[in-house]
């Protein structure tokens, strides 16, 4: 680890092998998790990309490489939450920002249809914390402590949100079937 820290103590070159390894290790799961929460794959990509940009911007964080996965998770979920709030706000104000600044491609529509199953639809109806806890728990397989760290909430809250989210999901899916 000393070697790793030594490398990142200097300004890392753009094609640094460690950054690439980190990306290949973390990005697929993060991208899949975000795609469960936002309905546009392009937005999901931008969110994960932005999380990496934030990590890479901070020399301090680059020196704490062992914390990088946790930081990336945290940043990604914060960004996804911001995105959903902004989108909701924009729709309320009828600014149509999502449609306007992110016009939908045919590829996006196909991807949306592929994703558009009952579980994801029900998941997206949940309050944001419940949705995040379920994704982190059952998709990313994190422990309650790790979820608490990621979302900056207590373990007790994680338990509450997870169990309420699960119950709501079951109720929604049960009512539909």
């Amino acid at each position: 680890m000393t070697t790793v820290l030594g490398v990142f103590a200097r300004t890392p070159p753009l094609d640094d092998e460690l950054v690439v390894a980190l990306f290949e290790d973390q990005a697929p799961a993060l991208l899949r998790a975000v795609r469960l929460m936002v309905d546009d794959p392009q937005d999901a990509e931008e969110i994960v990309q932005e999380a990496f940009a934030k990590l890479l911007t901070s020399r301090k964080r680059m020196r704490q490489l062992e914390n990088a996965p946790a930081y990336l998770r945290s940043a990604t979920f914060n960004l996804a939450r911001d995105h959903l709030r902004r989108r909701g706000s924009a729709r309320r104000k009828q600014h149509l920002l999502s449609a306007e600044e992110h016009a939908v491609s045919a590829e996006t529509i196909v991807a949306r249809q592929a994703q558009n199953n009952d579980v994801v639809a029900a998941l997206r109806l949940l309050p944001e914390r419940q949705r995040e806890c379920l994704v982190l728990r059952y998709f990313m397989a994190l422990s309650e402590a790790e979820i608490a760290d990621t979302l900056a909430i207590s373990k007790g809250s994680v338990k509450t949100h997870t169990s309420r989210g699960m119950a709501a999901l079951q109720a929604t899916l049960g009512a539909e079937r």
Binding site: F23, R35, L79, D82, Q115
Partner: protein
């Protein structure tokens, strides 16, 4: 549904995704760009503090409480800016609440020149009212923000006139024939484009504000350019970025020339996508953000219905490398009038007639509507 079923459903629903390495590359470019900006801001603050210590003769700890420093002075703004940068950087949020420029001026399609609240986007004050459709959209504020230069279409649509008005109101005065006014950072030189009627070539002229003397720094006739869409100065005042336009469907040409007129258009830097980008990709409406970074509107591959297949707002360096993707544009709208504030941190552009604002490269948000031009300082 039990936990195991949910786990499987989520895995199935999220699909197999393999993020492209390009994503990482873009993130690295964004990060490099932000680090450079932050370092520049920090250096500027360090310099300002050092100057304050030397000039005022106070200790570093007492500097921030200097009661003689006006709240809106450039030094204070820089300090606040950098402090907020250090304090808020990176927290995993796209929207930063850092202070925006204090003065935002817009030219409305209705012919109104208005002061706009930079945060809420609401109109604060009417500066002048001209006939509907006469404002061409070129705007430039003096360094002290006390005077606004703007362009007005003439009866002959190929000719226009630059006028100016005090930002506190008053009489509109005629400055010169021309369009796309752009004041240098020192406020002494005004760059403008000029064409002598339809069919004539466009030239870029630098005019000394106080003496009225002019010199041509780029003559579009040498490359057959018929018009200029945008004009901006580099932060150090040494170069001009010109968006030349051509008749007969020829693509535009984004060119960097020396402001002292020492370069020729045949040998000047032409800014465009690298060769591995799509053949039909165009960069247009460029505006300098600092000395070597430019905000451009990129569009690619016009379709039969006249729309673009892709549209992005990019920060690029003058070697043509993309540093940051600021936004994906609406394919149904044209994206024009790129501009940045003095710090280069706060960006503006028009999406159709909607004014979009981006702070620190974050995703832009709509600020106001019905505009043909806007600038802030």
């Amino acid at each position: 549904m039990n936990e195991e079923q949910l786990r499987k459903a989520l895995h199935d629903a999220s699909g197999e995704v393999r993020p492209q390495r390009e994503m990482l590359h873009r993130a690295q470019l964004q990060a490099a760009h932000r680090r450079r900006r932050r370092d520049t801001a920090t250096a500027a603050v360090g310099g300002a503090l050092l100057t304050a210590v030397v000039l005022v003769g106070i200790g570093p700890l007492g500097g921030s409480n200097d009661p003689t420093s006006p709240p809106g002075s450039p030094g204070t703004t820089e300090v606040q800016l950098a402090t907020r940068l250090e304090a808020t950087e990176p927290v995993g949020r796209t929207e930063q609440t850092t202070q925006r420029p204090s003065l935002l001026v817009g030219a409305a399609a209705s012919g109104r020149l208005v002061m706009i609240d930079p945060v809420t986007g609401k109109t604060k004050r009417l500066l002048a009212k001209l006939d509907e459709g006469t404002l061409a959209g070129g705007l430039s504020l003096s360094p002290s923000s006390d005077r606004l230069y703007f362009d007005v279409r003439g009866e002959d649509t190929c000719q226009s006139e630059i006028r100016s008005i005090s930002t506190s109101g008053g009489e509109v005065t005629v400055v010169a024939d021309g369009a796309n006014p752009a004041l240098a950072q020192d406020g002494r030189l005004l760059a403008l484009s000029r064409r002598r009627g339809c069919g004539a070539a466009a030239a870029v002229v630098v005019r000394d504000i106080s003496s009225g003397t002019e010199r041509v720094v780029a003559d579009g006739a040498t490359i057959g350019a018929s018009d200029v869409a945008a004009l901006s100065w580099s932060a150090n005042g040494r170069q001009l970025l010109i968006d030349f336009r051509f008749d007969n469907g020829r693509p535009n040409r984004l060119t960097v020339v020396e402001a002292d007129g020492s370069s020729t258009l045949e040998t000047a830097i032409v800014l465009g996508p690298s060769s591995d980008a799509a053949v039909n990709t165009v960069w247009e409406w460029g505006s300098f953000v600092d000395n070597d970074t430019v905000l451009v509107s990129e569009r690619c591959c016009a379709t039969n219905d006249g729309n673009s297949e892709t549209s992005r707002m990019l920060l690029v360096d003058i070697a043509g490398r993309v540093e940051t993707v600021v936004a994906n544009g609406n394919l149904r709208k044209t994206h024009t009038r790129m501009s940045a504030d003095q710090s280069g941190q706060h960006l503006l552009y028009l999406s159709g007639q909607d004014l979009m604002a981006s702070d620190f490269g974050s995703r832009p948000a709509p600020l106001a509507a019905g505009l043909v031009g806007a600038t802030w300082r």
